[in-house]
Amino acid sequence: MTTTTDKHTITALVEDQPGVLNRISSMFRRRGYNISSLAVGQSETDGLSRMTFVVEGDPETVEMVAKNLHKLVEVIKVVNISSGNTVSRELALVRVNADVTTRSEIMQIVDIFRAKIVDVSQGTLIVEVTGDENKVDSLVDLLRTFGVHEVMRTGTIAMSRGVSYEEDTPG
């Protein structure tokens, strides 16, 4: 058995019905799989949602995650896009300490990251950043030196590059 534990991205197209998220999270809990992030939203088709999971584990475990997702009646399509050429993004809002002495330095950092300041108050700023997980991590780390009050992250969403529409995993 391999021991490599890595992050893998799986997307699932699911029926938009009450209880679907419950079924999926119940399966993850019962089988003991680790989700590091989960994002859900409407898909291009009415009545169907698309979920993006970032899962930690060796390739065998991730394959079992995909198979068990597929087994749920309301899950229509499961794709493991970890190995492919993908675009992955998440959005984060960060409330950071900012007084007159630090504000401009923060603005420079925000610029470098092509992030945005979306709210300014007496002693804090809210920074909005979009990017892959590493980019968001780096910005949050940098902002910590000023004192971070609150971080909100959406979790990763991902899509494979090119024209090819996602193909179903076998099984």
């Binding site: 209880g19 119940s26 065998e60 079992m64 198979k67 597929h70 009646v73 899950v75 229509i76 099984g171």
Partner: protein
């Protein structure tokens, strides 16, 4: 046509081929019950406890191959089903369970007898539904039956609020299933089957390991053809027992924790395992990393998530066992494997496993052998869980397919009484023996009333050792015989108990009375209970302790003098 929700439920059940429903009424399900008289073709069997309804539906389903149907009310009615639903899920038994729910306006308010049964059964059903509008009932029941009995079968629960049963809607025949996310793979991949055939061709020491999937897909003839054509010994799992005739020369027992030593040894020596419709349960593999380490594995299963779950597989084939075997049999060339079969014969001779000691004592094993002899291996055997279950599986010589009903995966004590009831309903003229322990029997014995009420001629053999025998065995072996809470000193007089229900009761205390009692039971037209007062501290052997390997097997106690 205008119909009430409850009428649509009945009509839909009949349309799906359901002819019998096991259940017990209560407040939320009452509108359905009050509708039953309008549908005389739908036979209702009134159980005494909802767990009985679930296990009876399970027994019925295993015998007929059709989904068993159980009905219960909301709250405690529904939660009492849970053990039976979990047992069916573990053993891939098709069931449709209809539960009443509190009325829609009360849902979520902690109303009287409200329980979130779809939430509770989420991880122990194949799928479940909460039907919030009567117009959806027909479609949902159609989908429930289809999901329950296609692909890998399992229980499907349909929860219906009280007022939805009473809601009147225009009934429309549901035409097509709309399940875009549910498409089980039935047909095995030809390229994979070719690879499997090549592996079989080159194997020197192949074994077939046949599981419940062979019975579910009724692939008995195809299994026999493969085994005979390529001369491959056939080992079954516990739930695979009876999928291959036990008097066949290639039959090589069943392996694992309490299986035959020669079966476990054959798996260990094999260079190829052809696993058919089984899931490498820990009772078979012991320590999975050391299980049959010299063999390659072909794994055929309809559920892709079973493949690679426990054991790395060389040739995975997702599909229905029967479909795959038909294609495989066209490719596999005849072979002999004569050296390997000779080796198997030697293993059987050197490790006979199931010998009885010379004794005047009344041994539970002897009772099973005598039932086997008198019924000529033609009875349907329904067991509980524990020592008696293992002895029944070991010592009964099963001649007919699908003739052992046992709670394998979930190990549910108390299965033996209601499941035997369901089996007898499914096969009114068949001989059904419920082999019970004194522990499990007392968990569901209230169904004796149901059995009498419905004139079901089930024969009960209680192997009464006054202990939770298997737990006591573990205490003896692993906890220095410290028998904490396993002795049953307060057992009732089971013969009087039977008589109180109007059932013929027989007590057997001596070895010489066993056969006569069994004969009497067989000749009696109606249910019979025999209380066999057996040796108290017998153990089940062989035994491979949990998580260990074939090298750790205790074949038999060194003290026993044995005869074959």
């Amino acid at each position: 046509m205008n119909m009430r929700g409850a009428q649509i439920v009945c009509k839909s059940l009949l349309r799906e081929g359901c002819d019998v429903v096991f259940g017990i009424p209560g407040g939320a399900i009452l509108p359905l019950y009050q509708t039953l008289p309008e549908f005389p073709d739908l036979r209702h069997i009134l159980v005494r406890h909802e767990q009985g309804a679930a296990h009876a539906a399970d027994g019925y389903a295993r015998v007929t191959g059709k989904p068993g149907v159980a009905v219960a009310t909301s709250g405690p009615g529904a939660t009492n089903l849970v053990t039976g639903i979990a047992a069916a899920q573990m053993d891939s038994v098709p069931m449709v369970i209809v539960t009443g729910q509190v009325g829609r306006p009360s849902i979520g308010t902690d109303a009287f007898q409200e329980t979130d049964i779809t939430g509770i059964t989420l991880p122990i059903t194949k799928h479940n539904f909460l039907v919030m509008e009567a117009k959806d009932i027909a479609r949902v029941i159609k989908e429930a039956f289809f999901i329950a009995n296609s692909g890998r079968p399992g229980p499907v629960l349909v929860d219906i609020p009280r007022d939805v049963f009473m809601e009147e809607v225009d009934y429309e025949e549901p035409l097509e299933l709309d399940l875009p996310g549910y498409k089980p793979t039935i047909s095995g991949n030809n390229r994979q089957i070719k690879k499997a055939s090549a592996l079989i061709q080159s194997a020197k020491r192949p074994v077939i390991l046949a599981g419940h999937g062979v019975i579910i897909s009724r692939a008995y003839d195809e299994l026999k053809e493969l085994a005979e054509r390529a001369q491959i010994p056939v080992i079954t799992t516990l739930l695979g027992i009876s999928c291959f005739p036990e008097d066949h020369v290639l039959w090589t027992g069943w392996p694992g924790m309490h299986g035959m030593a020669y079966s476990s040894l054959a798996l260990d020596e094999a260079d190829l395992i052809v696993a058919l419709g089984m899931r490498f349960d820990d009772r078979i593999t012991g320590n999975a990393e050391k299980f049959s380490s010299k063999s390659k594995k072909i794994h055929v299963d309809i559920d892709p998530s079973e493949i690679g779950k426990i054991i790395p597989v060389d040739v995975p084939i997702v599909g229905d066992v029967k479909d795959v075997l038909v294609k495989l049999n066209e490719l596999v060339e005849p072979s002999t494997h004569s050296d390997w079969l000779k080796r198997i014969e030697t293993l059987k001779k050197d490790h006979p496993s199931l010998r009885l000691p010379e004794t005047d004592k009344l041994l539970a094993r002897q009772v099973i052998r005598d039932i086997s002899e008198i019924t000529e291996g033609n009875a349907t055997i329904v067991t509980g869980v524990g020592q008696h279950q293992m002895w029944a599986a070991q010592h009964y010589e099963f001649k007919n397919p699908c003739s052992l009903l046992t709670s394998g995966g979930s190990g549910t004590m108390g299965y033996e009484v209601p499941a035997a009831m369901g089996a007898q309903v499914a096969s009114p003229d068949g001989t059904v023996w419920s082999i019970a322990g004194d522990g499990g029997f007392q968990m569901t014995l209230c169904e004796l009333a149901t059995i009498v009420e419905n004139k079901l001629p089930v024969k009960f053999a209680i192997l009464n050792n006054g202990f939770l025998g298997m737990v006591r065995q573990w205490q003896e072996i692993f906890f220095e015989s410290s028998y904490v809470s396993t002795g049953y000193s307060g057992n009732p007089d089971f013969v009087k108990l039977a008589e109180a229900y109007g059932i013929k009761g027989i007590r057997v205390t001596d070895k010489t009375q066993v056969k006569t009692a069994i004969q009497d039971a067989m000749e009696h037209d109606g249910p019979v209970l025999i209380d066999f007062i057996v040796e108290q501290e017998e153990n089940v052997y062989p035994m491979i302790p949990s998580g260990m390997t074939v090298k750790d097997m205790i074949e038999e106690p060194s003290s026993e003098r044995v005869t074959v």
